[in-house]
Symmetry: C2
Subunit: 343 residues, 2 copies
Amino acid sequence: MKGHQVTIKDIARALNISKSTVSRALTGHANVNEETRKKVLEMAISTDYQKNIIATNLIKGRSKTIGIIVPDFSSSFFPSIIVEVQQIAKQKDYLLLIMQSNESYETEVANAKLLLGHQVDGLLVSISQETLNFDHFKIFDRKNIPIVFFNRVCDEMMVPKVLVDDYEGAFSATEHLIKIGKKRIAHLAGPRSLSISKKRLNGYMDALKQDNYGVDEDLIIECDLSPDKVKIYINHLLKIKNPPDAIFCINDPSAIQAIQIIESMGLKIPEDIAVVGFSNDFASELIGLTTVAQPVKDIGCTAAQLLFDQIESDKKKAIIKQLKTNLIIRSSTVKSLNCNRVK
Amino acid sequence: MKGHQVTIKDIARALNISKSTVSRALTGHANVNEETRKKVLEMAISTDYQKNIIATNLIKGRSKTIGIIVPDFSSSFFPSIIVEVQQIAKQKDYLLLIMQSNESYETEVANAKLLLGHQVDGLLVSISQETLNFDHFKIFDRKNIPIVFFNRVCDEMMVPKVLVDDYEGAFSATEHLIKIGKKRIAHLAGPRSLSISKKRLNGYMDALKQDNYGVDEDLIIECDLSPDKVKIYINHLLKIKNPPDAIFCINDPSAIQAIQIIESMGLKIPEDIAVVGFSNDFASELIGLTTVAQPVKDIGCTAAQLLFDQIESDKKKAIIKQLKTNLIIRSSTVKSLNCNRVK
DNA sequence: CTGTTAGCGCGTTCAG
DNA sequence: CTGAACGCGCTAACAG
């Protein structure tokens, strides 16, 4: 089914005037006789004329769209960031093309290509857990299309990045577990490929070392972020000979899964096992999960701002913004705190 | 900062052949000398040539994009639907333009206009709670751009719609509350403007009547869907002279808020007050909220399918698909069921 | 197999 | 104040 759009040509023909006059009347930038302008405007309204932005963009060599590639929508984290980006894009009259990689490298590459073909004027990216090669993003750089990474960044590209202090966040989370008296603190780590995983792992290990806790390799499990795997690893952790009395999880969804499994085994949280997550997803407050909050709004705004700074100017500086995290203590580590749920 | 794209023209000039030959070599559809094809392909790769899809679309009179306008991302409901739509769009090589109305009529109109200007080939819509006038959608219809409504639909337009059996869902939720012995069942209703609100209200009322319960107008509160308002109304409900012993809420976010308020007042759920929601958001399982589940995947797929059916053919039939809901009973109505949370 | 031409809808010259 | 002409990047129809 093809939509038959009304064009400037149509209006010009109907009014028996030239296309350029119609164009001028419509944009309002140039000198046009008041009467003809009026006639054109009336005709435009009565025929539902809508300017074809695409045609304009073709001429101007831009698309007035920016793309964003995120791993998934399975928690509130990325949607929350997208909402912020969307708002800023809207102010600037830009459209946001949202793509999910589903944690797959191949999909991410395909997404990037598609966005390139659609001539996005800029790109925001949080990479998939599988991504090791960055050629699909380097193309943007070579074509002078601004790109900004957030959270899960590409270390080898010199472009703006928005990060949070993952190390500090993990450190304070682990320290908190030590303070409440936990002795065997496990870490459900993220895939080694992501630098955030490494930073969080380091924060965890350094906190342990600082307090003269030994780092027990058995208590560190590196896993990919698929729900099925998480379940398997948590189960494994609970069944080793010297099981942990606390688990610091790489993110909230896995922490929530951990809680479900632990409780289904009849163990008590936080007495038997305390759990800490990372991100402060919507659900975390509801179930009382202690977690390292990320400033979602700030991440989204900052990333979008950095992108538009580049789009609008010609500056090309590889600024790295590091935002603060904030440990939120709830009942998964300290009893009878923030218990907003059906008992 | 302007991205300088490599074009067919550039390759043609570099290889000293005609643009059409380059184009043919690139598309592969036509007869080209194997050697020249090879040369073109090599050049294309070495220069990062990327076809400008926009230019093609301009010629073909389409954009290979579809738009979707949803009220918000504040629960998992719309994001989940979007994920499904996205998948189908991807299969068809379409891009999805996602817009949020934020429950505002004005924003919705602006979004629709923007999508129109960007020449979307089709539109999926769940209307805002403020929307009473549908002119901004009727334009699409007049321009023969397919449009499909889902969940929150426009009654006065004869276009495909995807609905769930809101009436039945509300009926069974209320019936469930009656069965567990509740006597004064309140309903936090949605805005009257939305037909889903009316249907759910009717389901609630008919269930009461069927069991010879009177409908007490004091127990029915119509409210808009902003969190602040919900809080006020729940508080009000709990303080009337003859307070309810159960609340059926228009959606999960408001049910979750209700639970938080009820517990903060020291009342027990479900003994003192039982709570039922609508939609089965991600969070609902975690906090043990009894709720009427909507088949999110099915809604997304069906809506997308109906849209592409129209885009690809010329059929214009106003099919209305009604999908089944499913009451999920958890601990907010029946004690010690599905308690997946930190106790 | 290849090149030329026209045109998608619009903006932007340059002449009148 | 208005019109004609050209071009954005690409496809399609028509000649060679």
